[in-house]
């Protein structure tokens, strides 16, 4: 009797669905995922997966891990990253060596695809958690990610 079993299956699955949403309804007070944003601006923390902007972390000696290999610049599908690089003399070996002068990042063009971060061999760049990215002047969206006077951490290339 396909006809009647259809009906009973239908009713059963509908009731299963309703019980799931019903449970959500009863628990919504405890588990609401909405953030009351401007009110909790001080305490609001973004979750780990959040892609706010690309940042380049520096350690306490003002050193970053970017070797200037330009893989990220090549990987970026829309030309968001521009690396202005230079050749300097390595103090230890005395050889000429590539180093970054300015790591330019155009936030206004970035689609947050994450390819640059995936491709970086030294994990020099990562996701920032900043979510208040709006500015009044769009030139503020073009950022230099390496701090002035910063240099690459020694031994990162090995």
């Amino acid at each position: 009797m396909g006809y009647f079993s259809n009906i009973f299956n239908g009713i059963k699955t509908l009731l299963t669905g309703m019980s799931i949403t019903g449970k959500y309804f009863l628990n919504s007070r405890k588990g609401a995922i909405t953030q009351q944003y401007p009110d909790n601006r001080e305490t609001l923390k973004m979750f780990d997966r959040f892609r706010g902007e690309v940042i380049m972390p520096h350690d306490e000696n003002n050193e970053h891990a970017c070797t200037g290999c330009q893989k990220c610049e090549i990987a970026c599908p829309n030309g968001t990253i521009e690396i202005i690089w230079d050749r300097g003399i390595d103090e230890e070996t005395g050889k000429k060596k590539k180093k970054i002068d300015q790591f330019v990042y155009h936030l206004s063009m970035c689609t947050m695809c994450g390819l640059c971060i995936d491709v970086c061999p030294t994990d020099a760049i990562e996701w920032g958690q900043n979510f208040e990215n709006s500015v009044y002047d769009r030139t503020a969206l073009t950022r230099v990610l390496n701090e002035p006077e910063s240099k690459v951490r020694a031994g990162i290339e090995d």
């Binding site: 509908l14 309703m18 949403t21 019903g22 309804f25 588990g31 909405t34």
Partner: protein, 354 residues
């Protein structure tokens, strides 16, 4: 013919002391109409708010809570905003029909409210064909939808309107037949009579199994009648823009919107009247205080409204062919068999009487 105007009796007596009888009855009718209009415009707004809060809770959100205490004034503010908006229209649209459509929808929704028995006294018109009148009036609204879709000169609106026609013609049958099943029990179409019969147990108890089946069918078909999800093919935001009211703005859009919610209230109110004893309190616990009937009526109706919201925020939208399969291959045959079963039960006096 004199239509009994229960709540207007007092008003009418007071008016008769000032003017002639016929003038007094007209004035009384107008006063009642204005009272109903006022109450239900506001009630409709609050239903929108309830819907939004309930929807939010189903989706683990919070919902509107900024305007007024816990967002109580949110929909008022929305309505004010809509009133202040420009009324736009399309080129080469049929202006007359275009403007007429929203009134069809809202007026048919409000007219049906007139026969609702909120308490023994609080019922504007107690006509002897009550249920029939309700079924008839609730399907007039679809003309407004068809007009709106046709006159907008917009393909999405037209598709939405045509779907609405298909849907209403099909589900009207189920609504009518499931109510007919219950009328076998009451033996009367008059709403006050129907409530009177339920003093010996609500009809859903009296009619047990067939009544429960009829109730389920009624709720499914009723949800389809109001064009709400999962039967919202008429609007189908993801397919048709906003469906039949794509081209409407400002107050005319608000009429469509309000009518949807008043219709939902109506469907729930009819179910509460026919299946759950309208203003009768459970086991007659507050029988000595008649005005509490309003409370019981609204409580039952709101529970059913909540059920419809629960449907809406649980089930995905049906396809048009699935919609028609559900009606013609399942609901309608079950309904017809159900009527026969109910007739047998009434004939053999297998009714449960408390």
């Amino acid at each position: 013919m004199r239509i009994p105007l229960s709540i207007t009796d007092n008003i009418q007596e007071w008016l008769v002391s000032m003017m002639s009888e016929s003038a007094a009855s007209y004035v009384a009718m107008i006063i009642v109409a204005l009272i109903y209009l006022g109450i239900f415009a506001i009630a409709g707004l609050f239903l929108v708010l309830i819907e939004r809060r309930v929807a939010a809770w189903f989706q683990l959100r919070i919902g509107p809570n900024r305007v007024g205490f816990q967002g109580l004034l949110q929909t008022m503010a929305d309505a004010l905003k809509l009133v202040s908006k420009e009324l736009t229209g399309t080129d080469r649209a049929d202006k007359f029909l275009y403007n007429l459509a929203p009134y069809f929808v809202i007026i048919s929704a409000l007219m049906a409210l007139g026969v609702m028995p909120f308490t023994k006294e609080f019922q504007a018109f107690d006509i002897n064909i009550g249920i029939f009148f309700l079924i008839a009036i609730s399907s007039i609204g679809v003309i407004g939808i068809l007009l709106g879709g046709w006159a907008s000169n917009n393909k999405f609106a037209l598709i939405g309107a045509m779907r609405s026609g298909v849907q209403t013609i099909s589900y009207e049958l189920s609504v009518g037949l499931s109510l007919l099943t219950m009328i076998l029990l009451t033996g009367s179409l008059q709403l006050s009579e129907i409530v009177e019969v339920q003093k010996g147990g609500w009809l859903i108890v009296q009619g047990h199994i067939p009544a429960i089946i009829a109730f389920m069918i009624y709720m499914i078909a009723g949800t389809a009648e109001t064009n709400r999800a999962p039967f919202d093919m008429v609007e189908a935001e993801s397919e048709l823009g906003a469906g039949f009211h794509t081209e409407y703005s400002g107050m005319k859009f608000a009429y469509f919107f309000l009518a949807e919610f008043i219709n939902m209230f109506l469907i729930a109110a009819i179910a509460a009247t026919v299946f759950f004893g309208a203003w009768l309190s459970p086991f007659g616990i507050t029988e000595s205080i008649p005005w509490l009937g309003v409370f019981w009526f609204l409580a039952k109706t709101l529970v059913l409204v909540f059920l419809m919201m629960w449907f809406r925020w649980t089930f995905p939208r049906l396809r048009v062919d699935q919609l028609l399969t559900l009606e013609w291959k399942y609901l309608l045959p079950i309904n017809l068999v159900n009527i026969v079963i109910m007739a047998f039960i009434v004939w053999q006096k297998l009714i449960i009487q408390i």
